[in-house]
């Protein structure tokens, strides 16, 4: 039971990252691998601010703002100009990969390659019905739930959320109707930076961080987003649930060593059976609704 709870809480902690990937990928088709760099950047910013004497809440807020600014810069300097030249998604992916390498190496050169931690002391644990739950796990659960609720609420009930869904559905028509597509893209990148940095800060508080710590959770988030539905904003949540259950199953039935290959084999299976993900339905023109 403890393994099941740990596995599911670990998977839920990845949900904001999957949403951060999807909020950029679904409307813009940018395969945002540089998100792994933003994931690494946020805790280092918080750590630097805390070392400079900033109180913890201020340091965390500063880190989130820093991550949002970095994410916006990626759109303004990297993807926006490529979009103007009407480059294909592959070019965006390669540019994003270059940005990821750049961000990680700047972190290594600026703050060193050693693992760090944000947590000043050992964390408190709670025992409930023979289950041991740490404050870090509770924080990860709360951040994931709040982030998902805010994200889906924004998407469903606000004008900007509606326009973002429209951008995902038909960007050309949205532009023809006079909406500012460039501003919507910036909004998507900003939201992505905020979601990703929130998840990164909680995970770093719980387990520490290093410059390369972003790639693994971001890849899991990407797998969840693709598996759940590459054209759906709801896909990441479903994908993460599937991945969480698969990881727990492998952990209980086989070994923790084979969790990652199992998740990626699940992705391969998903790509073969439903290339556009679980939550995508085919339409007459072959695209998504």
């Amino acid at each position: 039971m403890q393994i099941l709870v740990n596995g599911l809480l670990g998977a839920i902690g990845i949900v904001p990252i999957a949403l951060a990937f999807a909020v950029v990928y679904v409307p813009t088709r940018v395969f945002h691998i540089a998100l792994a760099g933003i994931y690494a950047f946020a805790p280092y910013t918080a750590w630097a601010l805390m070392k400079a004497g900033a109180p913890v809440p201020l340091a965390l807020a500063g880190a989130i703002i820093g991550a949002v600014v970095l994410s916006l810069l990626l759109e303004i300097c990297n993807h926006g100009p490529l979009e103007k030249k009407a480059r294909q998604p592959l070019a965006h992916f390669i540019a994003s990969m270059g940005a990821y390498i750049l961000i990680v190496q700047v972190i290594v050169l600026g703050w060193g390659p050693d693992p760090q931690t944000l947590r000043p002391a050992a964390q408190t644990t709670f025992i409930w019905a023979n289950l041991v739950i740490t404050t870090g796990q509770i924080a990860a659960l709360m951040v994931a739930v709040v982030a998902a609720a805010c994200f889906y609420g924004w998407l469903a009930f606000t004008g900007s959320g509606l326009r973002l869904r429209a951008l995902a559905s038909n960007p050309a028509e949205l532009a023809l109707r006079g909406h500012n597509v460039r501003r919507l893209r910036l909004l998507a990148f900003g939201v992505s930076g905020a979601l990703c940095s929130g998840a990164a800060l909680v995970a770093s508080w719980d387990m520490g961080f290093d410059p390369h710590s972003g790639l693994s959770p971001v890849l899991l988030g990407i797998v969840a987003a693709i598996l759940g539905g590459r054209q759906s904003f709801w896909g990441p949540a479903l994908g993460m649930l599937v991945i969480g259950l698969a990881r727990v199953g492998v952990l209980v039935g086989v070994s923790a060593r084979w969790q990652d290959p199992a998740v990626f084999l699940l992705l391969a299976l998903g790509l073969y059976c439903r290339p556009n993900g679980i939550l995508t339905t085919a339409t007459r023109d072959g695209g998504a609704p």
Binding site: L90, F93, M97, I101, L109
Partner: protein
Amino acid sequence: MSYAFHLLAAFSIAAMLAMSINLIVGYCGRVTLAHASFMAIGAYTYALASLTLGWSFGPATVSAIATSAIASLFLSLPARRFKGDQFFLLTLVFQVVVFNLVRNWGSPDAPFGSIENLTNGPYGIAGVPRPQLLGVMFSTDWSRAILALSVATGCATLCWVVLSAPLGRLLKAARDDELAARSLGKDVDGARARAFAISCGIAGAAGAVYASHVTYVDPSLASLDESVLLLCTILIGGSGNRLAGSLAGAMTWLAIPELLRLFRVPGADASNIRLLLFGVLLMVIIHLRPQGIAGAYRIE
């Protein structure tokens, strides 16, 4: 002088890898994140064949090439159906599976080379024998550098011949307009499978040369970082022509650290600055020169 020979061997291995990934990126039009795993398959096959079976350089290298070429079917068969980000997600799956197989297929209780402990897990395989060919032992730095250069020259000749032949033209045609190539009755899938097999075979040969040169292989050879760097090498050098782009990529890969040494950058920072420059180059190239330094295929 020994350092110069070491550089020559490193250049030969880098050039082989760049030539091999050029076939997939530049001629098949597919971006792969799994190329390091084919090099690792070749390196581990060589190490196992030479240590457990006692094979010399020739047969062990042939077995490394064959294993990598057969493993290429895991990518070439899906390449019929998938392209773009779906294909590189599949290559990512292959990469993660191979890395974990190499890292986890070990047991401290079982003897090395047995079915329970095939790769020696995270510890890797040490003591890979120096190359020996037709009774000649390649024990000096210069002899191993010449051997690596010879194998690289062989691979370059193979690439030149294959890409100058109808197969190369068919691959280019299918890359630019697959439907048109198919409508002319061309066997696009077969051509692509052959290109993948040749490409991964060359990566396997590079792995074998690397294992015999360094005498040690470990799971980091198959890491995603290595695959990303290999992809960067060909994207920066340029793809879609027979040799120029690959050689430019390999040269860039080796030239950056040497330039940093010239500017007396401390060794600890040099590798990070090299990667940083690779990131910057990748972004600059995709914005300003999508065909790379000396390539012909524009990644639009």
